[in-house]
Subunit: 99 residues, 2 copies
């Protein structure tokens, strides 16, 4: 009964401002825990980092686990900024798949 | 006989450091010139901007032309930096399709 045990939605990693390798490690750990698919997601300026995380995890660290890019999706989301104004922000999702 | 008439490879737009709307306009012009597909590409830090360009062109300007995202591809390329060192850089391609 810990507060930390919420299951992350379909093994998702949300990319933000933490150090790059934190997210790469997150991907590796999720596959290590038996996930068949891991979704790496980002919004706005973190989208470039998101592609880097997916590529580095796949090409540098999971090379012996046959992980491939199953799908890449882009889209837009409405987002409320600090002034309470609704703005559009781009989103990107990379679905990594083992096997 | 001008030097400017080289045909851009499969109607591609390479995203770089120019103003955002230059690229959005580029996408609109290519569809206006009869292209069935336009590929919006970027490397590294310009990948976020690339998704924004594709989304804004499609959702704000080409709404009456039935343009959809046909495919999104990610990958890595070797890239020689200023010091002559080979580094990997992520790449992203968004294929926009009319009809």
């Amino acid at each position: 009964m810990t507060g930390e045990t919420r299951k992350s939605e379909e093994n998702s990693i949300f990319i933000g401002g933490k150090p790059f390798m934190n997210y790469v490690t997150g991907v590796i750990v999720q596959f290590g825990n038996g996930a068949k698919e891991v979704v790496v997601k980002a919004r706005g300026k973190f989208i470039s980092k998101c592609v880097d995380v997916a590529e580095v995890a796949r090409r540098k660290f999971l090379t012996d686990q046959n992980v491939s890019v199953k799908e890449v999706k882009i889209g837009s989301e409405e987002f409320e900024n600090k002034e309470g104004k609704l703005i559009n922000v781009s989103i990107l999702e990379v679905v990594l798949k083992k096997g």
